[in-house]
């Protein structure tokens, strides 16, 4: 039952709070991602699970076994946790061949020599590195080293796989390939996996669920679509993808959405919400640039609701889309559109589902 429970971790580095009440659960066989900027505590969390950091408070359990419990003074040594980890630097031991790298975890477990050979060969096939058995790490490319690191972390059938920014040292093309390859491998093996990254594309495309972290605090946990479309707060909205953050004043609630007046040109946005915001009258609305639709100024499409006219300040062509800088009164708005709309002014349509109230 390799299910991971992380409960209320607190850790300081000197004066600085590195982890502040970090709590989450990873279901069996799922890929769970910790996403955040550098220094947000994601790697500290991962290394705490692996046993290389000891938080001051909290509890970590994997598959029914308690790895760490500050209160009960339980702290299982890293080597006794039976986890597999792939580091950012890959950490393939430079003085050992690929075979020796993979055989080491098995030797430590006193596996018979014959079985070691079989398991290593099989695992190398799994990562498509079968013909590199006798190479030394310096004879391998970065991508190949990464596969060896992954194979080494899998060869002893660990209960959980931990990945600490494993793609950040690969170039852009290779990174995309490695991403889908690792995802395939993970789901075919059904391995419970925790993945740390600062790259939102990686997080969104690979994960079953994502925890966004900032300054040691988990800001939001959810499936990728939720994180992207319904960010819980300003930080998540800004960190994951590009966003227009528009401040405005709440003017009403119609049962399904909140009405927010923004800017000085009398524009009113409707933001989907199940309940009215608390007494606060001034709020911020997050709008993704690609969720906005544009039309020619004169058109009366969009049924006349959730629409207003804005002046085109600048347009740039980016290959597969156009990037608009619009101004409605004093309200600036970035929009991503598939087509070029003629004219100095355009009609803007922002559907209620595209508006998320973030604070």
């Amino acid at each position: 039952m390799p299910e991971i429970h992380v409960e209320k971790l607190v850790k300081h580095f000197g004066e600085q709070l590195a982890l502040d009440d970090v709590t989450f659960r990873v279901d069996e066989g799922k890929l769970f991602t910790l996403l955040g900027p550098s220094g947000c505590g994601k790697s500290t969390t991962l290394l705490s699970i692996a046993g290389f950091h000891s938080p001051e408070r909290g509890r970590i359990a994997g598959g029914g076994e308690v790895f760490f419990d500050a209160e009960r003074r339980v702290n299982v040594a890293p080597e006794q946790r039976n986890l597999g980890i792939v580091f950012q630097s890959y950490a393939v031991w430079p003085h050992m061949t690929v075979f020796e790298n993979l055989a080491f975890p098995l030797k430590v477990r006193r596996v018979k020599r014959k079985e070691i050979r079989a398991r290593v060969a099989e695992t190398l096939e799994l990562v498509e590195m079968g013909q590199y058995t006798d190479r030394y790490p310096h004879q391998l490319s970065g991508g190949q080293q990464q596969r060896v690191a992954l194979a080494r972390a899998l060869v002893y059938s660990p209960s959980v796989l931990l990945l600490d920014e494993p793609f950040s040292n690969l170039d852009a093309k290779l990174r995309e390939r490695a991403r889908s390859w690792v995802k395939d491998l993970q789901s075919s093996l059904g391995l419970t996996t925790i993945f740390v990254t600062h790259d939102q594309d990686e997080a969104l495309s690979m994960s079953d669920s994502v925890a966004v972290m900032d300054r040691g605090v988990v800001q939001q946990i959810g499936v990728p679509e939720e994180i992207y479309r319904r960010p819980a707060n300003r930080f998540v909205a800004e960190f994951v993808g590009r966003v227009n953050l528009i401040s405005g004043t709440v003017t009403g609630f119609d049962g399904r959405s909140v009405l927010v007046e923004v800017g000085d040109a009398g524009v009113v946005l409707r933001a989907t919400a199940t309940r009215p915001p608390k007494a606060a009258t001034s709020v911020t609305v997050a709008v993704r640039p690609e969720a906005v639709t544009l039309g020619a100024e004169g058109t009366q499409v969009f049924n006349g609701t959730d629409t207003f006219v804005a002046r085109v300040h600048a347009v740039s062509f980016l290959g597969d889309h156009y990037e608009y800088e619009l101004v409605a009164g004093r309200l600036p708005l970035s929009v991503q559109a598939a087509i070029r709309v003629p004219g100095e002014n355009v009609r803007v349509h922002i559907p209620p589902d595209a508006c998320a109230i973030v604070e």
């Binding site: 040594a77 890293p78 980890i85 080491f104 430590v108 477990r109 398991r119 075919s188």
Partner: protein, 583 residues
Amino acid sequence: MTTVTSETAGALPLPRPRRPRIRAGAFQWGIWIALVGLVIGPFVPLLYASFRDRPLYEPGGVFKVEPYREVLSDPAFWHAARNTFEYAAITTVLAVLGGALVAILVTRTDLPGRRAFGALVLLPLLLPALGLIVGWIEIWGPGGYLTVWFDTRLHIKTLAIDTILGMSLLETVRLLPVAFMTCRAALARTDASLEDAARSAGAKPLKVITSVTLPMLRPALLNSATLIFTLSLASLGIPLLLGTSHNIQFISTYLYYHWTNAATPDPPSVAAGAMILLLIATALLFLRNRLLGAEERYVSVGGRANRSALVSLGFWRWPLALGFVLYLVFGTLIPILGLALTSVVTVLTPLIAPWELFTWENWQALGTGQFRQAIENSALIAFVGAILTTALVTAATLVAHRSRFHLRKTMPFVMLYPRATPGIIIGIGFFWAYLVTGVAGDWLRNSIWGIMIAFCVRNLPFAYIVMYPTMARIGEELDRAARSVGASWWRTSGRIVVPLLRPAIFASFALMFIEILNDYDPAVFLAKPGTDVMGTVMLSQFQQGFIGQVAALAMVQVAVTVIVLGIGARLFKLGALGGRHDA
């Protein structure tokens, strides 16, 4: 890819890795206790001895501050202290300025032959100290070869080296490499594009050096200044061999003579004097640690660019290169040649051609009696000591940097501490330590192994300084990876970290071997007939005037040093020796 239904994942779970029989924690405690015991331990009986009214081995001693009062009320002590500070101050200023200048010239200008200069300028620090001093005396001393030659042929009076100024000049040549290496390392760390930026902003090369390069060197200058000051405070060789003719006493020689000429043996006042010197050195070490902390502020980001923008010296290229050559030739090369020549003549003088005075007697003497014994003793303790020190420091470095032992943070300080403690004080400390530890102490006191331990402790910082940079380069993820796949701390250390440390382990052994072979000052309080080592025999023979034999012994040290460094440099790229700068 998706077609693989792995047997690996489906296989029966493997057994959990076994826990090691000996707990890593017990071993880590053992190493810590051994280290602290060896480095700090000897000062405990010394401190105790300094507060007694009679030597520790005499019964009925009582607690008294008398020894301190005795030392501090002795005008000779204050005279020695004034000389010592004057000497240390001059040495520090000259060595730091010289070292910084050489570092800038070698790394940032188009000085011809700068790479060779960068290596050769280190020689005085690496060559055996006593041999170099004797070489200087033979060439530049009163009645020295070049002193007489300049006087009789050119009627030029050379600077007298048996004065405080002259002695500090020699100490400068010996310690300038310390400042040089610190500054060179700092320059290598700083990004040359900072200087490029100043040049494109319109600053002339000299302006760049004064307004960008030098300010960036400030922490390195302060750091090396405190170290050089500490080292020259405790210097024994130069004052002992050169200061005596004019009776210029330093604290080190004051303690040495009070010890050897004392009416009652082993006077507590020497222990008190040693404690005072130890306190000063320790205070300076703490000061230096503060400065090192400040240095991190100056580490510029992205300093990997080492292509160093060359400042063109223009007309000054050749005069500066010539000055460099003269410095090396007169400061190092000729004294070593003089030393070699001294070993094969009855007397070295420009007045009679050396071939008329040629003799093998000095070298033949080495094969007999106390010389032979001293060489054998030195070789034995250098070999065994180098192995033991390297093993201890390897283990201690592992515990200090690759374990979760909770006192690990104290260990780098403990390992560097002997660098700041004067050699003679380590000697006195171990003398008392052996006296109060019963049978084991008696055995150590009466064998060469007692001297070996003192030498090992004294030179242990060098082993750490060689070991640490390599350790720091071994990414921590490499051993974390080993722990995560199930290896214990033992196994991780043995199979991952130590194999990767191997070059540093060999470098440490080579360096320890020559340092122990050439060391002398901790032994002057420990050696007895039969347990003499090369250094102590050289000191006593020099004082009795047998210069030729001293020179022959010194040449043995020089030859071994050059061979070991040569092999080491070839085999293990002893660039690591350059790491001595952080001492």
